[in-house]
Amino acid sequence: MLADIMLGQYFPGTSFIHQLDPRTKIISTILFISSIFLAENYQAYAIVAIFIAFIIALARIPLIMILRSLKPLWIIIALTVLIHIFTTPGTVIYVLGPLTVTQEGLRLGLLMSLRLVFLIVISSLLTFTTSPVALTDGIERLLKPFKKIGLPAHELAMMMTIALRFIPTLLEETDRIMKAQMARGADFTSGNIIRRAQNMIPLLVPLFVSAFRRADELATAMEARCYRGGDHRTRMKQLKITGRDWVAYGILLLLIGVLIVVRISEKSNVI
């Protein structure tokens, strides 16, 4: 039942996007997310949407996976729409008791929720096309300059790798303990919130016990193999920026340029 969680799942492939350097993908994702905030009208949104569709097609990720990554956040998206619809002042088009719906509210709600959808889709595209190991490798390299000011870049990356590595293991463990307790008549789904929190104890205690045990075993195993942090470590897969990455940066800069042009031309139209 927990195996269906889509959070940050890698989708193996050999597409153009998959083969990009993880650093390129991380930087591009950050750039792209900031550039979404340049978009303010329907034309700009359409351009962003087309760009995302282009990336999805290029990465050959099935649409169903993308939609599934949106599933856990649909409540937040729906809330955003509702809040904007009912709270934005402007031309009133419908009155519902104390609530008024305005034209501007509808527009803003639509655009804001689209913005959220874009953010989620593009960041899940990053995790769909980049294996967790590559992702943390990329982060480690990107954080390297900050080492000078005392940021433990390697240790942070190692912690992230381990955390990511153990998500499926802990999910599996949760699933198993849950089933074992359900087989003893435990109930995780009904009752009020306090009751439900109490019912979680038979799940959480064993889970913590086993997480600590695993951590202990892993630490021992790492030390037994002479692990001692980041200095002088070499890696099997060296990251390398290739022509492909420059092409990706070029395309992204083109998009940002177009969005800036659209924004400026709109401003000048208004004036």
């Binding site: 195996a3 169903i64 087989a183 038979p202 016990v209």
Partner: protein, 285 residues
């Protein structure tokens, strides 16, 4: 009185690239009073199959019924039918959580609404079955026991639910030979004394052969053999090998004797019987 599986198939993570059919077209009936051993290679679908027996997994297709009741329906009757199937998972000691052994064993019975006096009786009985002294262990914390003792507490927690069918997934995994013999000894004792139906999963052929009166061999998500251990060791050693499980050492030895021209009975599963058979064969010469 039986558990019936009809055309059971189960697919993990359907409609993703990770989609995997774990078991397909399983048809078995587990009758009351049987001691069924299920063996198979890692990934042969044993554990998936087990979880269908008490409704923890819903089959992608097919139907599971316990004592005539479809357990994947909603309602009281299905719930009760599920409860008559007790399930001991692999490494069951990982599910312990209470402060005392007593409370952990009482967790199940209390959940299904049994009165405290009856709970007390059941805990005592369950601890007795798994060979834990009530006076010595009841008030201790389960986390400071040895591995074998923790496992017995966990098994007692399931036995205290008084299931008609007891399912055990690799109950001896990770125990030393002595712990293993103790656990198995207690399971056999309980089987003989209470007439409970036991389904035991293991990849150790020797254990299963010694205890079970029916053997199911799984391979690639399907049942490749189903019969008494003796029949299977006698007639189907090729299929056993295909399924990636070995015949017990004793059977292998007896087969070797036969190949060398010493006519012994290669269907025996007990050590004494094997010795007798060899002695007679040698005398006959």
């Amino acid at each position: 009185m039986s558990i019936i599986l009809k055309n059971i198939s189960y697919v993990y993570m359907a409609k993703t690239p990770y989609e995997q059919t774990a078991i397909k077209n399983i048809n078995i009936e587990i009758k009351h009073g049987e001691f069924v051993g299920i063996i198979g290679h890692t990934g042969s679908g044993k554990s998936t199959l087990l979880q269908h027996l008490n409704g923890l997994l819903k089959p992608t297709t097919g139907m599971v019924s316990v004592d005539g009741q479809d357990i994947n329906l909603k309602g009281e009757a299905a719930q009760n039918a599920k409860r008559s199937v007790g399930m001991v998972f692999q490494y069951p000691e990982h599910q312990l959580f209470e402060e005392t052994v007593y409370d952990d064993i009482a967790f199940g019975p209390r959940n299904i609404g049994i009165e405290e006096i009856e709970v007390d009786a059941r805990v005592k009985k369950a601890m007795n079955f798994v060979g834990l002294e009530f006076d010595e262990f009841a008030t201790r914390t389960p986390f400071q026991l040895s591995g074998g003792q923790m496992r017995r507490v966990a098994i007692a927690g399931v036995i205290a639910l008084e299931p008609a069918y007891l399912i055990l997934d690799e109950p001896s995994a990770g125990l030393d030979p002595r712990g293993r013999d103790e656990i198995f000894g207690q399971i056999i004792k309980m089987y003989k004394n209470t007439g409970i139906t036991v389904v035991l999963v293991s990849h150790n052929m020797e254990d299963v052969a010694r205890m079970a009166n029916r053997l199911i061999v799984m391979n690639g998500g399907e049942i490749s053999l189903d019969g008494s251990p003796m029949e299977i060791f006698r007639d189907s050693q090729d299929q056993l090998q295909a399924a990636g499980v070995d015949v017990p050492p004793l059977t292998a030895l007896m087969n070797k004797f036969n190949q060398w021209g010493l006519e012994v009975d290669h269907t025996v599963v007990a050590m004494d019987a094997a010795v007798d058979s060899i002695v007679t064969a040698v005398r006959r010469r």
